[in-house]
C-alpha cells in the first residue's frame, strides 16, 4: 500500500503541506491557482528548503498569489510594476537564497516594463513568472498591454493596439532563460518551473493564465479553450535533478532529444515534437516567436537558455557570509582610520 501523498517526505524531510500557502482568494478556476499548485509541487520535488526562498510580487491578481504558496518563505508584495527593483535590492541581503517573483501582464508589460527590462539586463537571479491573462482583473476587466488586437471586452470596446510579447521583450533585453507555458498544461508548467529554479540568472516564464471572470471567451487567446486548441509545444520537456541518473540510451531515436546541462549539474531534456528546436541560439527564439505571432500559434516551451552569463551578484565580489549576517566589526571601519580620512580632506 502506498502512503497518502501528503505524508511523503522529500530529501529535506518535509511533506508537501510544508510548501503550501494560505487558501486562495482568487476566483475559482483562475489559472493563477493552478500555477501556485505547480510551484508547490516543483519546490517539494526539488527538495527546496522553504526558508531559503524569497517571494516577491507587484500589485494585481497575480501578485496576490505568493500568499498562496510557500508559507514558510519570506515574502514581499511591493508596488504595482515595481517588484523588479524590490527583488533586485533584496537579492543582496543573502546571496544563498532563491528568489521567485510573481507578476501579471499589467504589472510587467505596462506599468513595470522599464524595471522588468532592467532587471533582466542585469541578469538578476530570480524566477520571474508572468501570469498573463490579457486583462486587468482586480479593477474589473480593462485591457492589458498583452491583449490581442480585436479583443472585445464588456465596457471596454475593441482593443486596437498591438500586444506586447513578454518573451520577445525578455529576449530583447538579453534574458538568460525565456519560456512560455499555458496554465492548463500543468506538467509543462511544473517542468519549466524546475528548470527555472535550477537556472543561474533571470528566468522569465510567461504563463498564459486565463481569467475566468473577465477574459475567457472561447475565441480569445488568453482563454482555456483557445489555449487547449492552439497550444503548440516546441518539445516535450522534462527536468532531471543533479543526482538522478539519466538513462536515455536507446529510448529515443537519434536527434530526437536535446539535453541542456544546467550549472548545478541538473539536466533539462527536450524531446523533439514536430521539428527540432535549439534553445541555445537567441536568433532561433526571435524567429520562432515571429512565426508564432504571424500564424496565431500559442507556442510553448523553453525558447532560450544561456547558463554562462554572469549574474548580478557575480559583479560584486561579495564576502561569502550573507551580507545581512555581518557583524558590526565588519561594517564599521576601525577607529584608527578616522585620522587618515580627515587627513585626506584638506
Amino acid at each position: 500500500m502506498t502512503a497518502p501523498v501528503s505524508l511523503q517526505t522529500n530529501k529535506v524531510g518535509l511533506v508537501k503541506n510544508d510548501y503550501r500557502g494560505l487558501p486562495s482568494t482568487l476566483c475559482s478556476g483562475c489559472g493563477h491557482n493552478s500555477i501556485a499548485n505547480q510551484i508547490i509541487t516543483a519546490c517539494f520535488e526539488l527538495d527546496i528548503v522553504p526558508e531559503k526562498v524569497m517571494k516577491f510580487s507587484g500589485i494585481g491578481c497575480s501578485s496576490k498569489s505568493p500568499a498562496y504558496f510557500l508559507n514558510r518563505s519570506f515574502g514581499f508584495n511591493g508596488l504595482h510594476g515595481r517588484m523588479s527593483s524590490l527583488a533586485t535590492g533584496a537579492l543582496f541581503a543573502d546571496k544563498s537564497l532563491l528568489a521567485i517573483g510573481i507578476s501579471g501582464d499589467g504589472d510587467t508589460a505596462s506599468i513595470g516594463m522599464g524595471g522588468f527590462k532592467h532587471m533582466i539586463r542585469r541578469n538578476a537571479p530570480i524566477v520571474y513568472i508572468v501570469e498573463n491573462n490579457g486583462v486587468y482583473g482586480l479593477t474589473k476587466g480593462q485591457f492589458s498591454a498583452t491583449a490581442e488586437v480585436g479583443l472585445n471586452l464588456k465596457h471596454q470596446g475593441t482593443n486596437h493596439y498591438m500586444p506586447v510579447d513578454i518573451c520577445m521583450e525578455a529576449l530583447a533585453s538579453n534574458a538568460t532563460f525565456v519560456a512560455r507555458s499555458f496554465a492548463g498544461d500543468a506538467k509543462q508548467v511544473k517542468e519549466l518551473l524546475k528548470a527555472a529554479f535550477s537556472h543561474r540568472g533571470v528566468a522569465v516564464l510567461d504563463i498564459i493564465s486565463p481569467c475566468v471572470t473577465f477574459n475567457n471567451q472561447d475565441n480569445a487567446i488568453h482563454s482555456y479553450s483557445w489555449g487547449k486548441d492552439h497550444e503548440a509545444p516546441l518539445h516535450e520537456i522534462s527536468f532531471v535533478p543533479a543526482l538522478d541518473e539519466i538513462e536515455l540510451v536507446g529510448e529515443f531515436p537519434e536527434g530526437a532529444v536535446r539535453e541542456v546541462a544546467m550549472h548545478d549539474g541538473s539536466t533539462v531534456i527536450l524531446k523533439k515534437l514536430e521539428k527540432d528546436y535549439d534553445p541555445t541560439h537567441r536568433a532561433n527564439a526571435f524567429k520562432m516567436l515571429e512565426e508564432a505571432q504571424l500564424n496565431d500559434w500559442l507556442v510553448t516551451g523553453l525558447f532560450y537558455i544561456d547558463e554562462k552569463k554572469p549574474v548580478l551578484i557575480d559583479n560584486y565580489n561579495l564576502v561569502d557570509k550573507p551580507l545581512n549576517r555581518l557583524d558590526a566589526i565588519d561594517l564599521r571601519p576601525a577607529p584608527n582610520t578616522i585620522e587618515a580620512i580627515n587627513a585626506m580632506m584638506f
Binding site: F74, G75, F76, G78, R82, A93, L323, R332, P333, P335
Partner: protein, 598 residues
C-alpha cells in the same frame, strides 16, 4: 593712501563653464585656508557642460564668517560674455582683473583695473596645446598671488593635494602660476587696498564638501547597499561612496561588504534600497527633489510595511526642473509627509559638514531602530561647496541594529512573535529578515492592510489600531532624534530658528543685529523632525520667533505652526529663495523690516 583691507573681502572669478577653472579656484581657496585665513567658497555654476558662465566666490573673513556675501571687492573675469556685468559688480574701490584678449571698454574709474596676458602666458607654458586652455586658469592664480600676497608655497601644497602628489602635473601648473606672478611683479602696480596675510584661524579645521562627508559618514555607519540615479547636486554623494568604500570596507582578502548599484531611475533606486532594507541591510539612496517626487509611492510602502531605509535629499531649487545647479531648502514640506495617506517622516537636518558625516552614520541607527525611512536633507550649497569644518569624529555609539530576531531568539520565544506587535509599548515591533532558518521566522510584507502577524486584513478596527501604533512610534522617534542647538542671550526676547546651510548667514546676522541695531536674539538651530520638547520650550520662552529658511513659503514655519498650534501666532517667516545661499545682510534686513512694523 587708502587703509589696507586684510583678510576681509571677497574674490569672485568669472570663467566659462567647462574650461577647467575649478582646479584653479579650489587651489586658491585651499592656499588661503592653508595660510590660516577663514574662507568659504561658493560655486555659482550653470546647468551646462560647456560654454555658460561660472562664478566662483571666495570669501575671506578674519572673523570666521563663512556665509555668502553679495558684495564683491575683487573680481577676476576670463569670460567675454560676463565681462560687462562683472565690471559693473565690483564695489567702488575694488579691484578688477581681466584677460587682456577681451577687448571691451573699461567704463569704471573708481576701481583698480589689472589686465592679464592670460593667453600669451598659457601659450608659453610647457604643456601640450590641448592643456593650454586649462593651464590658462593658472595665470590668474599667479597674478592674484602677486597682487594680493598669497603664498606660493601654500599654492604648491594645494596643487599637490589636488593632483594627489603627481609631480609633473603640479610642476607644470606651478610654472604657469610663477609666470603669472612674475609677470604681475614686473608689469602691474598695485593700486587696490586688498591684502592677504597669514593667520592662525584655520588650525583644527578641515576643508570638505557635504556630499563627501555624507558618504564617509554612511561608510562609518556600516552602509551595505546604495542604489542611486544620477542627478545634480546629489551624484557626488554616491560617487564618493564608490571612491571611499573600496578603501575602507573591503576585507583583508579583498572582498566587499557592500554594494553600490546605479539604477535605471529613482523609482527603481528607492525600490532596490527598500528591498535591501527589508532584507536586513543598512540601505540607502541619495537624490534631489525630482528624485524625491518619484520616490513618493515607495516611501509610503516603507513607512507602512516598516522597512528601514535612509534617503539623502541634496536639495536644489524647484518646483519641477527648477534651476538644477542652484540651491534651496524647498523640499521640507514635501519630504515631511511624502506619499499619500496619514504619515509623517523622520528628517535629519545637518547644518555643518561635520554633521553631514555624523548624520551619515546616525541615520542608519535611527532607521533600523525605528524601522522606517529616515530622510536627511542637505542641499547643493552644503553638498557641493567646500566648507571649513571641524574634523570628522568617530561614532561615539555602537551600531544599533535594534529589534531583529535571529534563529536563537526565535528559539527562546518558541517561535511565538508578531511582526507588527507592539511588544515593548514603544510602537516599535520586532522583525526578522530573509535567510533566517527558523520555521516561524517568515512573514509577508505588504503595503496592504495587515494585522499584528502581518496577515492581510481589511478589518476596520485592526487597520486603525495599527495606524495608531505607527503614530506612537513617531512619538518614540521624537525622543531619539538629534536635539536642537540653542544659544540664549541674557536680555533677549526674540528668537531665531534656522536649519541646514542657512545657519552661517543667521549666525553672522545676529552679530549685525546686535552691533548695528542693538537687537539681541536667542538662537536655535533645528537638527531634526519630529520636534523634540526643546523646540516647544524655545518658542514658549520668546516673545516672537523668526524662522529663517531658503524657500518661498516658509515651509518650516508652516510645519511648526501645525505641530505646535498654540505657539503659531508667535512664529514669523524670514524666508527667501532665488537659488543662492542666504546672506547675513538679507537676514538682518528681513528681520529688521518686520521688527520696525510693530
Amino acid at each position: 593712501m587708502v587703509e589696507k583691507i586684510i583678510n576681509n573681502f571677497s574674490i569672485t572669478i568669472a570663467t566659462v563653464n567647462g574650461s577647467g577653472s575649478q582646479t584653479a579656484n579650489v587651489t586658491l581657496l585651499r592656499a588661503l585656508f592653508k595660510m590660516g585665513i577663514p574662507v568659504s567658497g561658493k560655486n555659482i555654476f550653470p546647468s551646462n557642460i560647456q560654454g555658460l558662465t561660472t562664478w566662483y566666490t571666495i570669501r575671506l573673513s578674519k572673523d570666521g564668517f563663512i556665509a555668502r556675501r553679495d558684495e564683491q571687492e575683487v573680481i577676476v573675469t576670463l569670460n567675454p560674455a560676463s565681462f560687462a556685468q562683472d565690471l559693473a559688480s565690483v564695489l567702488p574701490g575694488g579691484a578688477f582683473f581681466y584677460a587682456d584678449d577681451i577687448k571691451q571698454p573699461i567704463t569704471r574709474k573708481d576701481i583698480s583695473v589689472y589686465p592679464m596676458p592670460v593667453k600669451a602666458l598659457a601659450r608659453s607654458a610647457d604643456v601640450s596645446p590641448s592643456l593650454q586652455d586649462y593651464i590658462a586658469n593658472m595665470v590668474y592664480v599667479g597674478v592674484l598671488a602677486n597682487i594680493l600676497g598669497i603664498d606660493l608655497k601654500e599654492i604648491e601644497q594645494a596643487l599637490d593635494f589636488h593632483f594627489k602628489g603627481k609631480a609633473q602635473a603640479v610642476e607644470s601648473n606651478l610654472k604657469t602660476i610663477r609666470a603669472g606672478s612674475e609677470w604681475a611683479d614686473q608689469n602691474l602696480k598695485k593700486s587696490d587696498p586688498f591684502f592677504v596675510q597669514s593667520m592662525q584661524a584655520t588650525k583644527g579645521f578641515i576643508l570638505a564638501d557635504g556630499n563627501t562627508a555624507a558618504a564617509l559618514g554612511a561608510i562609518y555607519g556600516g552602509i551595505q547597499f546604495e542604489a542611486w540615479y544620477p542627478i545634480t547636486p546629489a551624484s557626488s554623494l554616491a560617487e564618493s561612496l564608490n571612491i571611499f568604500l573600496p578603501q575602507l570596507r573591503k576585507t583583508s582578502d579583498g572582498k566587499q561588504t557592500y554594494a553600490v548599484l546605479q539604477a535605471e531611475d529613482e523609482l527603481a533606486a528607492i525600490g532596490m534600497a527598500i528591498g535591501a532594507g527589508w532584507g536586513g541591510l543598512r540601505s540607502m539612496t541619495s537624490t534631489s527633489g525630482p528624485g524625491i517626487s518619484l520616490m513618493a509611492e515607495y516611501t509610503g510602502l516603507a513607512y507602512f510595511a516598516e522597512v528601514p531605509v535612509v534617503i539623502w535629499d541634496v536639495q536644489r531649487i524647484g518646483p519641477s526642473t527648477g534651476m538644477p545647479t542652484r540651491t534651496a531648502q524647498g523640499d521640507l514640506s514635501e519630504v515631511y509627509s511624502l506619499s499619500h495617506g496619514d504619515k509623517q517622516h523622520v528628517i535629519l537636518l545637518p547644518g555643518t559638514i561635520k554633521e553631514c558625516f555624523e548624520f551619515g552614520w546616525k541615520a542608519f541607527d535611527l532607521a533600523e531602530h525605528l524601522q522606517t525611512p529616515v530622510f536627511v536633507l542637505s542641499d547643493l550649497d552644503l553638498g557641493m561647496n567646500q566648507w571649513m569644518s571641524r574634523p570628522f569624529e568617530y561614532p561615539d555609539t555602537p551600531l544599533d541594529r535594534a529589534k531583529v530576531l535571529w534563529e536563537a531568539d526565535l528559539e527562546k520565544l518558541n517561535g511565538i512573535w508578531g511582526r507588527y506587535k507592539d511588544a515593548d509599548g514603544d510602537g516599535i515591533p520586532f522583525r526578522t529578515v530573509p535567510g533566517n532558518k527558523h520555521p516561524a521566522s517568515a512573514w509577508f510584507g505588504r503595503g496592504a492592510g495587515h494585522d499584528e502577524n502581518a496577515r492581510y486584513t481589511e478589518d476596520a478596527g485592526t487597520w486603525e489600531k495599527n495606524m495608531l501604533r505607527l503614530k506612537k512610534k513617531y512619538e518614540t522617534a521624537r525622543t531619539l532624534v538629534p536635539k536642537p542647538l540653542i544659544k540664549t542671550v541674557k536680555g533677549a526676547h526674540i528668537g531665531i530658528i534656522v536649519y541646514g546651510s542657512s545657519t552661517p548667514a543667521v549666525e553672522e546676522a545676529r552679530g549685525l543685529l546686535q552691533k548695528e541695531e542693538g537687537i539681541l536674539t536667542n538662537f536655535m538651530r533645528l537638527r531634526s523632525l519630529p520636534f523634540s520638547r526643546e523646540v516647544q520650550n524655545f518658542t514658549k520662552k520668546n516673545d516672537h520667533i523668526y524662522i529663517v529658511e531658503a524657500n518661498r513659503d516658509g515651509q518650516l514655519r508652516q510645519i511648526m505652526s501645525a505641530a505646535i498650534p498654540e505657539q503659531a501666532p508667535k512664529l514669523r517667516s524670514a524666508c527667501h529663495s532665488d537659488g543662492l545661499p542666504l546672506t547675513a545682510k538679507w537676514v538682518k534686513e528681513s528681520i529688521l523690516a518686520q521688527e520696525k512694523k510693530e
